[in-house]
């Protein structure tokens, strides 16, 4: 039995407003399914479930704002029997236990997968939903057998309207600013940052990229930023101490490398959603993932795991012309890697000065977890990988 709780979608998040359920009691869910939407200061987030099972009970109605950690639904894991009250299962009262258990579990029809279940919905509700533009899959029915009726659709439409307003208010600059303010203030207060920088000659890399892109159609072309993300992921493989969290007063490096990529929002503020397992993705896969991620970030359709899973953040301000970024770590992460603009600079090598395209990579890291030595090793590994694009 699992309680599906209001997730923390950022270090600073205290509460979220449940916008809608995408499942109903009886629906089968598997790990990673999006089962709800929650409005937060950083926009509407699609919430994923973390276990396989069957939705047994919905505990929080759409429209409710509840603190992080509040149980939202009960998920019965596979193989688990329908819940029996604990006190009736004791050996002291076997008769009572039996009588309270109801019919044997195997007599219960197996829950059908959500996908092929025809929704129970009244004709009038179906028409109203279509008139109001309400997705009937998202409406929770309160009629007989969970049937969706007009009142349910009206409620959903109202909730949608009202919550859209709430979430619009929440995602305006004020809410977003307040949320960033909280996280960054905490970071600067609690995390003793140290900063390292290195300049990387990208001439080989860029000519490799140029050749590579010539072979590709416009849609398949790679941006330098992709190589940088991939190089960070690879370098973390060499220096895993920088990948993970400082939490509960201790260093907790993580095996999976999920890179948070800072995306600035046009209306102000930024979000750094996670690219999962960036080290295992090919450059093409990364390009596709990033494009989708940026699009969904801007459209406010991020998933909860993308909001929570990042183990490090990469920020690239090169587009805006800055040379180097000395960033503030996004707690509870351990480090932030910044890239500036790729500029032609005089470059000394083998006793001669030439002009090379150069980028400055910086590392801001948590001195509680690592020391400058690991940071330096990381930047060195980053440089090595970034200069060998074919190995990425």
């Amino acid at each position: 039995m699992g309680e599906f709780r209001m997730p923390s979608l950022g270090a600073d998040m205290e509460a979220g407003t449940l916008l809608l359920w995408k499942v109903q009691p009886g629906d089968r869910v598997k790990r990673g399914d999006i089962i709800a939407e929650v409005a937060t200061d950083k926009g509407d987030i699609e919430i994923e479930v973390f276990e396989d099972g069957v939705v047994e009970q919905i505990l929080v109605e759409p429209g409710s704002k509840v603190p992080v950690g509040t149980p939202l639904a009960v998920i019965r894991s596979d193989g688990e029997q329908v819940s029996v009250p604990a006190e009736s299962a004791g050996p002291a009262a076997p008769q009572r236990a039996l009588s309270e258990m109801g019919p044997p579990t195997e007599l219960q029809p197996p829950p059908r997968p959500a996908a092929d279940r025809r929704p129970r919905i009244s004709p009038a509700a179906r028409k109203l939903a279509s008139d109001l533009g309400v997705d009937i899959d998202t409406v929770r029915g309160t009629g007989p057998g969970g049937a969706v009726q007009r009142a349910d659709v009206e409620r959903a439409a109202e909730t949608k309207g009202a919550l859209r307003e709430v979430s619009e208010r929440a995602t305006d600059r004020t809410g977003m600013r307040r949320s960033i303010a909280a996280a960054m203030a905490r970071s600067n207060r609690e995390i003793p940052h140290y900063y390292l920088a290195t300049s990387i000659d990208l001439s080989a890399t860029l000519s490799w990229l140029e050749t590579e892109n010539e072979k590709r159609s416009i849609k398949e072309r790679l941006l330098p930023a992709i190589l940088m993300v991939k190089a960070v992921a690879k370098a973390l493989g060499a220096v895993p101490e920088l990948n993970g969290y400082w939490s509960e007063d201790r260093h907790q490096p993580q095996e999976s490398i999920h890179i948070g990529f800072a995306v600035s929002l046009r209306e102000g503020g930024l979000i750094a959603p996670a690219i999962h397992h960036a080290d295992r993705k090919s450059l093409d896969e990364l390009m596709e993932a990033m494009r989708g991620l940026i699009e969904r970030t801007r459209a406010g359709r991020l998933r909860s795991s993308e909001m929570t899973d990042a183990t490090i953040t990469v920020t690239n301000l090169g587009d805006l012309g800055v040379e180097a970024v000395y960033g503030v770590i996004n707690p509870p992460q351990l480090a932030l890697v910044g890239f500036g603009k790729i500029t032609d600079r005089p470059w000394a090598e083998n006793g001669a000065v030439g002009v090379r395209p150069v980028v400055t990579a910086t590392l801001a890291a948590d001195h509680r977890a690592t020391d400058g030595r690991q940071g330096a090793q990381f930047l060195e590994a980053l440089k090595r990988h970034l200069q060998e694009p074919a190995s990425l």
């Binding site: 009244s122 004709p123 009038a124 179906r126 009629g143 049937a147 009726q149 349910d152």
Partner: protein, 326 residues
């Protein structure tokens, strides 16, 4: 002015006899006895035996005579004691009255009016208490009207007589003693439209005859719980006024039909089917029906009352429909 349903009906017959020489009343005991429900009391004295005619105990004979008289230019009002006895005249009604217009290629209208008592509730047992008006509503070629109110008792007869084709008037026997106000100038009323008796937003109660008053009482009780039921008197079962009851359901999205007939193959089944056909996308829940128990009407009072639709059943059905269906 306060009158009973019976007095309103008698006044309607009197007026018809006064206004049109072709009109006459015939049936069992309508003359000297004054009608088995005393509707025609006093009319024999006023209009004489030529126009208030007692007939032998043969429904087939006197309904057939009525058809002949109508074909011959008269405007007969034929009274049959109860709908159960009308079954003896089914051949005349269904095979003759209802068909002549069509079978004569539109040459022979049958301007016949047949009145009969219908319904249970007076401990008259199974052979006098059934509600077969829904059954008659199955037959093309005749109109079926069911006056429930004093106004309709007073006004439907004139319109029925003016109709060139056969009209059957079903008078629920429990209504005869019902009192109500009637305007002194009250007269003919239409026999085409259903009437909204009480407006409400939550559910449509579609009914006719004596069930109208049970439905209105139920609606009053439901209003105290905050449930606003719209009550519609269908008034005419053939042809049904689809527009009015569908309009109502389009507003309330829920329908409960109260019909004193038996459920299977009833007028309530027909109304329910039309709601599916013409208002499917307006329905927010299944159409519910409250009908008489499917038994021959019991004699014992408590059994008879249990078999008939009653206010409590209407209230609980509506409550269930409104509460669980949104």
């Amino acid at each position: 002015m306060e009158v009973t349903y019976r007095e309103a009906m008698r006044e309607a017959i009197r007026e018809a006899l006064q206004k049109d020489d072709r009109v006459f009343l015939m049936g069992e005991d309508v003359g000297r006895y004054g009608g088995c429900f005393a509707v025609s009391k006093g009319l024999l004295e006023e209009f004489g035996p030529e126009r208030i005619r007692d007939t032998p105990l043969s429904e087939a004979a006197f309904v057939g005579a009525g058809i002949g008289a109508a074909l011959g230019g008269m405007r007969p009002i034929v009274e049959i004691m109860t709908v159960n006895f009308s079954l003896l005249a089914l051949d005349q009604i269904v095979n003759n009255a209802a068909t002549y217009l069509h079978m004569s290629g539109g040459q022979f209208h049958v301007p016949l009016v047949i009145r009969m008592a219908t319904g249970g509730g007076k401990q008259l047992a199974a052979q006098h208490s059934h509600s077969l008006e829904g059954w008659y509503a199955h037959i093309p070629g005749i109109k079926i009207v069911t006056p429930a109110t004093i106004e309709d008792a007073r006004g439907m007869l004139a319109t029925a007589l003016a109709d060139p084709d056969p009209v059957l008037i079903f008078e629920n026997s429990t209504l005869y003693n019902r009192k109500g106000q009637l305007a002194p100038e009250a007269g003919a009323v239409d026999i085409e439209r259903a009437r909204v008796h009480r407006a409400g937003r939550d559910v449509s109660l579609l009914t006719y005859g004596a069930s109208l008053f049970k439905s209105l009482d139920a609606a009053a009780a439901l209003a105290e719980e905050g449930i606003e039921a719209e009550v519609i008197d269908l008034r005419t079962l053939r042809p049904l006024d689809d527009e009015t009851f569908i309009g109502s359901v389009t507003r309330t999205h829920r329908a409960v039909i109260v019909d004193e007939g038996w459920r299977s193959g009833s007028i309530s089944a027909e109304i329910s089917a039309r709601l599916m056909e013409k208002a499917f996308y307006e329905l927010d829940g299944p159409v519910e029906r409250i009908c008489s128990a499917e038994v021959p009407m019991p004699y014992a009072s408590h059994l008879e009352q249990a078999a008939l639709p009653n206010v409590e059943r209407i209230v609980s059905t509506v409550r269930n429909v409104v509460r669980t269906h949104g």
